[in-house]
Amino acid sequence: MEEVINQIMSEEEKEVQQKGLSRREFLKDAGLVVGGAAVGSTLLASACKGTTTTVAGPTVTTTLPPVTTTVTKTVDPRSVFNVNGKEYKMDVQPYWSLNFVLREQMGLTFTKVGCDRGECGHCTVLIDGAPMYSCMVLAGDATGKKIETAESLSPDLMNLSTIAKAFRDNEAFQCGWCTAGFMMAAKALLAATPKPTIQQVKEALAGHLCVCTAIKEVCETVVKIGAGG
C-alpha cells in the first residue's frame, strides 16, 4: 500500500507531502477504497480492457482504452455516473480523478485540466449543484451524484444557455482555456444568488485563474446576466 502510493506520487507531490499536503493523506482522508492490496498491482488493469458498455434510457456507450497490462483483476466494476442528465456506466480505477473520467472515458473535454492539483479552477464542474474542482474529486466519490459539465451549457449553437450566450456576446474569454470553469462557477453563483453584485461575483469567481486575462469581462458579464442584460 505504502509502496504503491509512493509510486503514484510524483516527485513534486512528494515535496508537497513534506509540507503537510500529501496526496496520501488526501486519499486516506477521502475514505477511498484503497485498503490492503486493492490499490496494488491487481487493480491497475481494470481500465485497460477495451470494454464497451450500453445502458438504457438516455443511452451512452463508452469504450475504455484498448490497452492491456499484465494485471487482470477488476476491483471497482461498473460505476454509474449521472453526467448532464445521462447515465454512464463504466469501470474506473479508485485513484482516477473525476476530471480524468469525464475527459478520457466520457469524452467530455470542454472541462479542462489545468494544474491537476486544485489551484486553477479550470476543471470546475457542478456536483449536486456545487462547484467542485474535478481534478480533486475521486471518480468513485462522484457516483450516484448529479454531475454537470460545461457541455450542458451549450450543446450546440442553436441551444446556447443564457450563460454561454452572454459569455460569447460579451467576449468573456480570450484563448478559451479557462472558459468552461468560469461558466460553471457562474452557474452555481447565479443559482444561489440570481442578481449578484460585482463584489459577490468577484468573490465567487476568485478560485479561477486566467492569465490572458478576461476576468474583467467575465465578472461584468455575470453581473449582466443577473440583471437580465
Binding site: Q7, I8, M9, S10, S41, L44, A45, A47, T62, T63, L64, P65, V67, T69, Q93, Y95, W96, F100, R103, E104, Q105, M106, G107, T109, F110, K112, G114, C115, D116, R117, E119, H122, E151, S154, K165, F167, R168, D169, N170, E171, F173, Q174, C175, G176, W177, C178, T179, A180, I198, K202, L205, H208, L209, V211, C212, T213, A214, I215, K216, E217
Partner: protein, 763 residues
C-alpha cells in the same frame, strides 16, 4: 469543378485606397465571430482534448538541479511497471529543448526542469509512477540564477565553457552624447549603480501540452504553438522526415504565453513516445515543470541611464546601458533626442530565457527608463505629463537603431486622451502633498511607452477560396493563440471581397492545409497576415468582377462589391450575386467553379521592399493610488489606459485584449514572483498557491478605464495596427504614483507590502 488560381505579381509600394466608412471592419457582433462560437460550445480543441480514450499519457522525469551533467539514466525498473508502453531518454528525443549531449552519454542540464526521460503509460498516474522509478545519476555543477551574480568575476559559467556569462554590444550611438550631456542644465545620473530593476515573472495556468499520433510514416502533432510551420521544420529535420509528412495542428494554444514556440519539448516527447509505443501519446507538463523547465516565465533586466535636459524640458542627451536575461531597451522610439547612446548586455543564467509573452522586451524597456524621466520632470519643476508631452517622439522622426521611419506614431495623442479621461490636471499634486481623510497617502503617476510589432518572418501565405455557393474559406498557416488573428483575417477578407461575415470561415493553426504562416509571437499575426489576406481576397474579387462585368455588360470600374453581390455603382438594382459570379462562364444560377487567391506577407505600406516591417503602437497610462504607510497596502483608486490600435477591426475582441493586458500589470506589480533556492537554483514556488495569478478578488476592475485610440495613418491594411502587446507595459505608472504619494522610489517591479514599508523606512 473548375478552380481558377491567380498569382498576381505583388506591387508592394503601390498605395491602397481603403474603403471608409467600412461595412464589416469594426462592425462585427460576437454572434458572427467564428472563434467565439467555437470557444463557447467547447469545440475549440486544445491539445489534450484530442483522441479521448485512445491515447497514452506521459510521465516526465525532470532534472531537479539548475546545472548538472547527466552521468547515467537507468530505466529498467520503469519499463517493467504496470501500464507502461514506452520509455525514452533524452538521447532519443532530438529536441533543442532537451539536454544537449556532450560526450558519450553525458549531457548538460542548464536549468531546472529539463526533461531527462519520459514514460508513456495507460493513465497519468501510472506514467508518473514509472517516471519516478527512473534512476538518474548527476554530476551537480555550480550554477547562477541571479543576473548580478552572473556578471561578477569568477561567477560560475551558466553553460560549461561559455565565459563570461555576458557580452556587451553597442546598439545605438547617434549625435554627440558627451558634449550635449555636458551642456545640459539638469542631469540625472544613475549610471553609478544598477538603476531600475525590472524583474517580472508570470505563471501560465494552461499547461504546455502535446498529443502525437503516427499514421504509417506520417506524424500528426496537436500542440500549442505560435509558429506551427517552424515546428514541422524542426521536427522533420530532427526525425529525418519529409516536412510534408509532419502535420502540426495548433487550435487551442493557451494565449501564447509561456513557451508557445517551436522549441517546446512536449511535442518532441509525445512524438517520440508515440513512435515507440505504436499508439497516440499525450504529453502534458506537470505544474512544476510548467513553472520551471523551458517555460520561460522569468526575466530580469536592469538599466543604468544618464539623462540630460535643458530647463525647458528638451532632452540634451541620453546615455543608457541595459543588462538582462532578455531584452533590449528602445528609448529612441519614445523620447525625442538626436543624441543617444545605448549599449546592451545580454546575460545568460541557469534560468530559461524568457519567451513569448505580451511585449517581453517592452516591459523591461519601459520600466527601466520611465522612472528616470518621471524624476527629471520633478527636478525640472514640470508637471510630468507636460514634460512627457514635450519629449514625446513624433511621426517625422526615425528609429535611430535602423534609420527607418517611425511611421505610425500617436504618442502625444494617447497621452492627451489618457490625461483628459483620467483627470490628471485635477488630481496631480507635489510629492507627498496629499493625505486622504483616513490617513493614507494619495498619489498619481503617469507613464507612456511603445510596443514594436510586425513581422520579421520572411514569408507567409494566406489562401482565400470562394466556393461555388459564394461562401468564403480563409486558410492561414499561423497559430491560433486567441481570437485576434482568427477574427481579424475573416473581417479583412469580408471587407475586401464585399461579402458578409457569416459567409466566411477561417482555418488557422493547421500545417496540413495552409502554406507557411510564420510566427504569431509579438502580436504580429494581424500585421503580418492581414495584408496577405487582403491581397488574396482582391485576387478573388478580380475574377468575380470580370465575370460580373460580362453578365452586366459593363466594365469592372463601374461595379461595386458589397453584401455578397456585385452591382452597378450607378444602379444597385442591377447586380450579380457572388455565387453566380464564381462560375468560369458565369451563368446565373449555374456557377460551377471555385476561385482561389493566394496572398503573401508584404512590408508595411510605403516601406522599402525587404525592410523589416515593424510598426509601433503607443500607450499611455495613469493611476491613482492610496498608500497605507502602516501596513504597506496599496489600493488603486482609479486607473486609466489609452492604447493606439489604428483601425479597430473587432471592437469587443480588441477591448478584451486591452483589459487583459492591463489586468496582467496588476500581476507584475502586486503578485507574480518566481523565487529560487539560493543553494540549489531550483524554483521554490512552482505552483499557483505561492506564485498566484491575479484573480477577480484582487483586480480593481471597477476603477479601470481602458480605451482604444484609433489613429488614422494606414500603416497596414485598413490602417490596423493590431493589439495584444502594449496594454501590459506601463506599470511604471504605479511606481511613479508611489513617488507622488510618498516622495520615495521603489526601483523594483513588485510593490508588495514589505517592500513598500522598507521604502518608507518603517522596516
Amino acid at each position: 469543378m473548375v478552380q481558377t488560381f491567380i498569382n498576381v505579381t505583388q506591387t508592394y509600394n503601390k498605395p491602397e485606397t481603403f474603403t471608409d466608412p467600412t461595412t464589416v471592419i469594426g462592425k462585427i457582433p460576437n454572434q458572427l465571430d467564428h472563434f467565439a462560437n467555437r470557444v463557447i460550445t467547447g469545440d475549440w480543441d486544445f491539445p489534450g482534448d484530442i483522441l479521448p480514450g485512445e491515447k497514452l499519457f506521459t510521465g516526465i522525469k525532470f532534472c531537479p538541479y539548475a546545472h548538472a551533467n547527466i552521468k547515467a539514466v537507468d530505466t529498467s525498473v520503469a519499463e517493467k511497471m504496470p501500464g507502461v508502453k514506452a520509455v525514452v531518454t533524452y538521447m532519443e528525443i532530438p529536441s533543442p529543448a532537451m539536454p544537449q549531449p556532450t560526450t558519450g552519454t553525458t549531457a548538460e542540464i542548464t536549468y531546472e526542469g529539463m526533461c531527462v526521460a519520459a514514460v508513456a503509460a495507460t493513465d497519468p498516474w501510472l506514467a508518473h509512477a514509472a517516471a519516478n522509478a527512473i534512476k538518474v545519476t548527476y554530476d551537480v555543477l555550480s550554477f547562477v540564477v541571479d543576473m548580478d551574480l552572473a556578471m561578477k568575476d569568477g561567477a560560475p559559467a551558466a553553460v560549461t565553457g561559455t565565459t563570461p556569462n555576458y557580452r556587451t554590444t553597442t546598439a545605438i550611438n547617434k549625435g554627440d552624447v558627451d558634449t550635449n550631456m555636458k551642456n545640459a542644465d539638469v542631469v540625472i545620473d544613475n549610471s553609478a549603480y544598477s538603476g531600475w530593476a525590472s524583474f517580472y515573472s508570470h505563471n501560465t495556468p494552461e499547461p504546455r501540452e502535446a498529443t502525437a499520433k503516427w499514421v504509417g510514416d506520417e506524424l500528426w502533432v496537436w500542440s500549442g504553438s505560435q509558429q506551427i510551420t517552424g515546428h514541422i521544420t524542426n521536427i522533420a529535420a530532427a526525425l529525418k522526415m519529409d516536412e510534408s509528412k509532419v502535420h502540426f495542428i495548433s487550435h487551442g494554444c493557451g494565449g501564447g504565453y509561456g513557451d508557445r514556440k517551436p522549441n517546446g519539448e512536449e511535442a518532441w516527447i509525445a512524438a517520440t513516445l508515440a513512435k515507440k509505443a505504436g499508439m497516440p501519446v499525450n504529453t502534458m507538463c506537470s505544474r512544476h515543470v510548467n513553472a520551471t523547465g523551458g517555460a520561460t516565465h522569468q526575466s530580469q533586466q536592469k538599466a543604468a541611464i544618464k539623462l540630460g535636459c535643458k530647463k525647458d524640458g528638451t532632452i540634451s542627451a541620453i546615455d543608457a546601458q541595459w543588462y538582462g536575461t532578455t531584452g533590449t531597451i528602445h528609448l529612441q522610439l519614445t523620447y525625442a533626442t538626436d543624441n543617444i547612446r545605448v549599449t546592451g548586455t545580454p546575460i545568460t543564467t541557469n534560468v530559461p530565457r524568457t519567451g513569448p509573452f505580451r511585449s517581453v522586451n517592452g516591459m523591461h524597456s519601459c520600466f527601466c527608463s520611465d522612472q528616470v524621466f518621471d524624476q527629471m520632470a520633478y527636478q525640472l519643476g514640470m508637471d510630468p505629463v507636460d514634460f512627457r508631452m514635450k519629449i514625446a517622439v513624433t511621426p517625422d522622426r526615425v528609429d535611430q537603431a535602423t534609420n527607418n521611419p517611425l511611421g505610425s506614431v500617436a504618442l502625444k495623442e494617447v497621452l492627451q486622451k489618457c490625461s483628459d479621461t483620467f483627470g490628471w490636471k485635477t488630481k496631480f499634486h507635489a510629492p507627498g502633498a496629499k493625505t486622504l481623510a483616513d490617513g493614507r497617502l494619495h498619489g498619481v503617476g503617469s507613464c507612456y511607452t511603445v510596443s514594436e510589432k510586425g513581422s520579421s518572418s520572411p514569408g507567409r501565405t494566406i489562401i482565400v477560396r470562394m466556393a461555388q455557393d459564394g461562401s468564403v474559406h480563409i486558410n492561414c498557416g499561423i497559430g491560433a493563440a486567441s481570437s485576434g488573428t482568427h477574427t481579424a483575417l475573416a473581417v479583412v477578407v469580408a471587407e475586401a471581397l464585399g461579402t458578409t461575415m457569416d459567409r466566411t470561415n477561417v482555418t488557422v493553426g493547421e500545417t496540413l492545409l495552409a502554406g507557411y504562416g510564420g510566427s504569431q509571437a509579438g502580436s504580429q499575426g494581424t500585421m503580418s497576415n492581414a495584408y496577405g489576406a487582403f491581397d488574396a481576397a482582391k485576387q478573388v474579387l478580380g475574377v468575380l468582377m470580370t465575370n460580373a462585368a460580362k453578365t452586366l455588360k459593363t466594365t469592372t470600374d463601374l461595379l461595386t462589391s458589397s453584401g455578397g453581390k456585385i452591382f452597378l455603382t450607378s444602379d444597385p438594382t442591377k447586380f450579380v450575386l457572388h455565387k453566380d459570379a464564381v462560375g468560369s462562364n458565369c451563368i446565373i444560377g449555374k456557377g460551377d467553379g471555385t476561385v482561389l487567391g493566394a496572398g503573401f506577407k508584404r512590408p508595411v505600406l510605403n516601406w522599402p521592399v525587404g525592410q523589416t516591417n515593424t510598426v509601433r503602437t503607443y500607450v499611455a497610462e495613469m493611476v491613482e493610488i492610496a498608500v497605507d504607510k502602516e501596513t504597506g497596502q496599496i489600493e488603486v483608486l482609479s486607473w486609466c489606459m489609452v492604447n493606439d490600435l489604428g483601425k479597430v477591426f473587432f471592437p469587443k475582441g480588441a477591448q478584451a485584449q486591452l483589459n487583459g493586458g492591463m489586468c496582467m500589470q496588476y500581476g507584475f506589480v502586486f503578485g507574480w514572483e518566481q523565487l529560487f533556492d539560493p543553494t540549489t537554483g531550483a524554483t521554490l514556488n512552482g505552483d499557483f498557491l505561492n506564485q498566484k495569478n491575479p484573480t477577480s478578488a484582487d483586480l480593481p476592475i471597477e476603477v479601470m478605464t481602458i480605451l482604444p485610440y484609433e489613429s488614422n495613418n494606414a500603416a497596414s491594411v485598413y490602417g490596423g495596427l493590431g493589439c495584444g502587446e502594449p496594454p501590459d507595459i506601463c506599470y511604471a505608472a504605479f511606481h511613479n504614483a508611489f513617488y507622488n504619494a510618498t516622495g520615495k522610489r521603489i526601483a523594483n517591479t513588485l510593490m508588495y507590502p514589505a517592500r513598500v514599508l522598507t521604502a518608507l523606512g518603517v522596516i
